[in-house]
Symmetry: C2
Subunit: 215 residues, 2 copies
DNA sequence: AAATTAATCTAATCATGATTAGATTAACAG
DNA sequence: CTGTTAATCTAATCATGATTAGATTAATTT
């Protein structure tokens, strides 16, 4: 314990935020330690004082992102409202998060591929934390799955309750989340519509798609 | 002109297909010339006999992808069917392309960012074809926009004709395309559903979302 | 004020991946 | 056959970006 964040001295959080921005802007592979460092006025080398390596840093961003959204979505999914109301709120929460928590959201989605794939493939007995890093990745993927499950749960529940028409739940949810994720790609704060407005429209679209035929 | 594709000798097309696969699997930045070369049993150096450089090669993949899909979608959009029928067919064509033409489709979507962004930014007076490469990128982006426009056109037309309820067209189309693009990420040939089946379901979802209130 | 630790920096070092240079081999033209 | 060009290869070369090593500076503690 030393030094007080008087004015200088970058915090772990500052770095995570910076990294999230760069990540959303450039994507996983194209994000360099230097880019991140620049956003907080540090040199790339200095980042290693805060994080073990690039993967650990970027994974931390994704973890923060997932946790943040799960924290918003889960309570809604478990609440006692109608399935329709829950779904509408979950959609709104996700989209608004995606547009506000810029970093977090966008990063979360598109970079999973880079993370999950190869690396430390077959014979890797080198680095000490290699194992923990693998565990963290798996944990992240698991959380990501949980997130998707919450939507599946609510849609399925709505069908069982007779609130929604019968749809192929997995596909419907993929459709829904694909649309959401894409928002992170095209959304611009200066754009014509605000996050909540976009969220409303998208919720309308999907809730109408779930309406029982008659009406 | 020399040598006949007796059995050996890789064609430009072979390379494009290979590149498309790798591209879809790893993403733009993570795709290496070596990866691509390996898929066609060549060395990375050999690829330069067929393409000027990595960007030119990958851009060629994206170009082929856009042209292929535009070629399918455009005739449908211009046909004289009902807007609903046109939209249904366009959705199906896009999704099936995305699942079959693997490479093409998936690549097309997620890698635009990597292509459009930075590079050859400010002062670049070096390479001879630097200019043409920039033009090609812009042309690609323009084609990508045309693609989106076709969907906007049909949705707008359907609203004007009274076939669809009034929706915010740009947002609705982003929603639609986001859902489509995402298919390229999760679809697996060995999966539970075929491309056409998925396409049907997604078309249902979006066409229902466009239904006029009463019915 | 001295010792200790945090937070940074600059200057290497390393690894990877793109691109180039210089053969080599084989099908083709004449 | 003999010269020419296509298609490849192997062995550099270069550039970039991650990571490490060795100071340096500034709070913190005692």
């Amino acid at each position: 314990m030393a030094r007080k964040p008087a004015d200088q001295s970058v915090s772990r959080q500052d770095i995570l935020h910076a990294a999230a921005h760069v990540l959303q802007r450039n994507g996983y592979e194209a994000t360099t330690m230097k880019d991140i460092a620049a956003e907080v006025n540090l040199t790339a080398a200095s980042l290693y004082h805060h994080f073990d390596n690039k993967d650990a840093l970027l994974l931390a961003v994704l973890e923060a992102g997932i946790e943040q959204i799960l924290g918003e979505i889960e309570p809604i999914a478990r609440s006692s409202r109608s399935s329709a109301e829950k779904l509408r709120r979950m959609i709104a929460a996700h989209i608004v998060s995606l547009t506000e928590n810029t970093a977090v959201g966008a990063a979360m989605v598109f970079e999973i591929k880079s993370l999950v794939s190869d690396k430390s493939a077959t014979g890797n007995g080198s680095k000490p934390d290699a194992a923990s890093m693998i565990e963290r990745r798996e944990a992240f993927v698991a959380r990501r799955d949980q997130f998707e499950d919450l939507f599946r749960f609510v849609v399925r529940e709505g069908i069982e309750r007779g609130e929604f028409r019968a749809v192929d739940v997995p596909i419907f949810v993929k459709t829904l989340l694909g649309a959401h994720n894409w928002v992170g790609v095209w959304y611009r704060p200066e754009g014509r519509l605000s996050g909540p407005e976009i969220a409303d429209m998208m919720a309308d679209t999907f809730l109408r798609a779930l309406r029982r035929s008659h009406e």
